[in-house]
Amino acid sequence: MDDRTKTCTWNDFCEYLVSFAEDEDFILVVQEMDIDLGSLKDLPEEKIFVSSASDPNMILNAAGLALNGKKPWIAGISSKILSRSYSQIRESLALPSLPVRIAVPDGGLSCGEEGASRIMTEDLTLMRAMPNMSVAVPSDRNSVRGIADAARKSEGPVYIRLGQTPLSQLNDDHDGDFSFGGARLLREGTSVTVCTCGIMGHQALKAADILDQQGIDIEILDFYSLKPFPEQALLASVRRTGCCVVAEEHSYIGGLCSATAECLCRTYPVPVRFVAIDDQFVHSGTPEELREYFGLTWKEIVNAAAQAWALRRR
């Protein structure tokens, strides 16, 4: 696909929110000068709630709005929201299960230049482990829209991880339903199940072409809904292939790797290989450099798939 038609999930998200915000009881909670709001800047003033310069207060403000029947969206930097305000999310949003949607524009390594303190490679772990919280990772424009729609309908808190890396639209036959607890098939195959979320779906599609030449026909699933986790979609695929590779732009602890392994260990044990970040803090660098350095490219998926295929349950 032409590079000019690529868009990042954060911009897609902003555009989509603007498209329906005017016609409904919409409210976006942000902090002043915190993030680039993109097209959300054009929203009418009464639709944007600017909180005080305190991250915990921003979360509590959203809870206060939800107590009066609103369904606020929060947008803010992941490291500030998730680490500084973890206990507020836990106590004021997740515990009473208030319908507040948290969207972060800097998920994964997409803001790699900002350095280790800003890059959360454990955000999915933190949110997945929190009871009542739904977790979603879109990978292209369609999934952003589908997930935003599902989040609009949700009656509990939702965490949506977005990014700044330009991505193409994934060529899929998905019917547009992105309800929580679902997954979408990006490529049919018979040799290895490759589970992905976010940008790794794009890398897996590149890897599929290489593996095809080696006679390994991978099946790629996009697990946009990390929680609730679509176990049946995973099991249906793995029962045919007998092995699995999980690729995510996240620590291998607690995210999609863990969710997949937890499900497979319990119900249908097969060899599993991870393509994810090791248990370490990352460095600053461009997102592309970092993805090369931490082994989050199609090359690692090719290696992992070949290994998993060799070890597969026959």
Partner: protein, 274 residues
Amino acid sequence: MEITRINELEQIASEVRKDIVRMVGVARSGPLEFPLLISDVLVYLYWEEMLLLAQSPKRNDRDRFILGTEYGVPALYSILAKRGYYGREELWHYRRLGAMLQALPDFRRTPGIDAPCVTSGTELAVAAPLAESLSMEGLNARVFCLMKESECSCDDFFLEAERCTNKNIKNIIVIAVYKHRDGSDSNDLQVKSRDRLSGYGWRILEMDGSDFASMEEIFNRLDPDGSKPTAIFTSIRNGRGLSFAEGDHTRTKKGLSIEAMDRALEELEGKSNG
């Protein structure tokens, strides 16, 4: 306020206090000192000041009450039972597995609870947007937020207080409770908090939280339409709690022994009789 009404309210507060002792005693855990201290204030709010209907606890135009400290929870539970939100029997299951009255109020399950009790962060950050959105909907509902005075001195509190002024949120009333200190009316921290809030344009009032006549006088001074956010610094006189529980912050874990509960009830009985 007529003396008979004051006597009635004192009688209610006395029963509320005894129920607090009983529920903490039966549960064998839970805070004791702070709930006893704030009982009078809560009785005044729920019987005289707030507009609410226990029969329709979700009515949209009701006044809201937000408890900004987990140490006051038994008092709120006891008040709500007395006000008819649920049966008094519920109090004896406080903190039990599956009970409606959990250690921290379960906003979804307990009638009369308007907001979850947040133990981290300032409850003003929950109360202020709630008040703001109520007034934007054209409702006259007010939001009362009761906090420990010590919780009104953190930066997050002042950031939110400043936002209240900037956003012209008028229907919020913070009740900052502290124990009366003999010898001096207020310490440095209090003076700083009040000056800072006053500097942000808040209306600062002071009242005696153990005297219903004083409370009536102060609440009557609240502008019914609200002109600016209000903070009421509320001192509680010594002797409103239990002699042996005062200053004992470890009681949350220890609870009350049967003997201590008996002694406490006798002490409260003695106070209410004379």
